[in-house]
Amino acid sequence: MKSIISLILLSVIALGIAISLDKIPFGVPKTKIGDYYIDKGREETGAANIVTSVVVNYRCFDTLGEVTILFIAAIGLGAVLATRRKKEKREIEPASLVLYAGCRFLFPLILLFGAYISIHGHLTPGGGFQGGVVVASAFLLAYLGCRGRRVSETGIKTVESLGGLVFIVVGLVGLAVGGHYFLSNFLSKGELNSLFSAGVIPIIYIAIGLKVGSELTGVIDHLVEESE
């Protein structure tokens, strides 16, 4: 009975997807906006990576919403897991020597890679979101390798608030100085393909990297603490 119901539901969903995709020609862009970004993106924003110019310049308000969603999800997880805390301290079994040594060797390298991805978001593929996740995975490795060591919760919250604050303040300054819309690019564009270019884009992406990295580190911290 259960399988028949799920089969019916599945076929209804498949039919819906088929109907909605039926009229769209495969592989042909329907809107002109993509061509506009490819043609004008570099000179209008100064960012060599067009994806970044869309995410942080043309559609930066959506990015603010995305960051907020992640923030609310992290807060919700913290609120759910914080209700049952502080059990008796159990003896933590130390990690094996190979894992410990590998963790100590790899942790700074992964952190460096994450910072590189965040800072070079306007030049190479990647950006604040990807770099933040890489930083959080470095902390995950540290939690696995060096058991018993914890990131300070105040530090996580401070860095996270700082990232959000920088995003909002840069946006409001852009509103006041640069023009008539939120997060307008008020700094000089600089030379294409150099590190200090594209105005406020690197600043915002570094702020997003800090915010995402600290939020996900906080999530991992809550989960690991709960599982021990």
Binding site: I117, P125, G126, Q130, V133, A136, L140, V219, V224
Partner: protein
């Protein structure tokens, strides 16, 4: 090139079906991690390195870790 991509898609399908049928949940997590990894390789072939990076770091690394932590708290084998 098209042969490599078809092979990867086939491997992805096998991994996705295997993730459903494994009774050991750790194996299922590894199989779903493989789906994400192959998806990220395919994104790279489709000239979307940004998405490939996000898929590899979130789908393959963080989500698997969260699942494994959850399995450690609950039961490892499905009945």
């Amino acid at each position: 090139m098209i042969l490599v991509i078809s092979l990867l898609i086939l491997l992805m399908l096998v991994a996705a079906i295997a993730a459903i049928f494994f009774k050991d949940l750790i194996n299922a997590v590894i199989a779903s991690c493989m789906v994400s990894l192959i998806a990220s390789i395919l994104f790279y072939f489709l000239q979307a390195p940004d998405v490939a990076m996000a898929e590899a770091s979130i789908g393959a690394a963080l989500v698997s870790a969260v699942f494994i932590i959850a399995i450690r708290r609950t039961k490892r084998y499905e009945e």
